[in-house]
């Protein structure tokens, strides 16, 4: 599965379009991480626990999108976009979407 955020795949030709595919997940941070982040917050800088959390969430959203594309018989997803929304305090939605295509 080739992912790209371009409208085409460099060096390959698209033979078929399957339309929009998407994957999303809503993640909450757990108490331990929140506590550590609270401490880290005094000093400032990177909150590694949250970075890890967001990375996992993005990976999961991507995996779900890829799964959906595979069901359609695609072998690549073009024009991939990521968006994040904070649904409520302490929870965030991660959405990945793109166009499933078949390419040579």
């Amino acid at each position: 599965m080739t992912l790209t955020n371009l409208e085409s795949i460099p060096g390959r030709t698209i033979t078929e379009h399957y339309g929009l595919v998407q994957g999303s997940t809503i993640r909450a941070k757990h108490v331990g991480r929140d506590l550590m982040a609270g401490l880290k917050n005094i000093v400032g800088g990177e909150l590694k626990g949250y970075t890890e959390l967001m990375r996992e969430a993005r990976q999961q959203a991507t995996d779900r999108m890829v799964e959906q594309a595979e069901e359609l018989g695609a072998n690549a997803i073009i024009n991939v976009r990521y968006t994040t929304t904070s649904v409520s305090q302490g929870a965030a939605e991660m959405l990945a979407y793109g166009t499933a295509v078949r390419c040579q």
Binding site: N5, E7, P10, G11, G44, G45, L53, S86
Partner: protein
């Protein structure tokens, strides 16, 4: 004897009062010192790494007119969650009163974003060019009351590897 003891306890009390009153200031001072050092170190690290990657640019364009034949293309992502230190947050309260640029916040976001771009590049060490680089910012939590206020900075692009001449 008794009065002396009483005086001593009063002295102790004043000392404890001062100690308790100064705790918020001590926390502020700690935040200022550690925050400052961390920022300086981070900027040094960022500059060194940016120099290493200067020949492999990330561009926002989608096509280059004379792009060599492409061997592979893949999506790469780099992200970082940052928060502002206690001292800067304290200072920002004054700035919010008068208005204007929050310089202390801009520097945090700036180095977070540069870090995100570097992480994106480092996740694909073999790439020759990063096409269609997009930057995104989202606030992970708003930081009302006791909650932690922090923002996520994301950079993503298509890492392209050119075809090498055989041999």
């Amino acid at each position: 004897m008794e009065s002396e003891y009483g005086e001593m306890s009063q002295g102790m009390e004043i000392f404890l009062d001062i100690l308790f009153l100064s705790i918020p200031f001590l926390v502020l001072l700690l935040a200022y010192v550690t925050g400052k050092i961390a920022e300086k170190r981070h900027y040094t690290r960022i500059r060194v790494r940016e120099e290493q990657w200067v020949n492999i640019p990330a561009i926002t364009g989608k096509h280059l007119p004379d792009l060599p034949a492409v061997a592979s293309a893949e999506l790469v992502v780099g992200s970082v969650v940052v928060s502002v230190d206690h001292f800067k947050r304290f200072l920002s309260n004054f700035r919010k009163f008068f208005g204007g640029e929050l310089k202390s916040y801009s520097s945090v976001i700036d180095r977070g974003r540069r870090e995100a771009i570097l992480r994106m590049k480092e996740s694909s060490p073999e790439a020759d060019l990063f096409l269609n680089c997009r930057l995104e910012t989202s606030s992970v939590s708003k930081g009302k009351g006791k909650a932690v206020g922090c923002a996520e900075l994301v950079a993503y692009a298509t890492a392209v590897r050119f075809q090498r001449p055989a041999g």
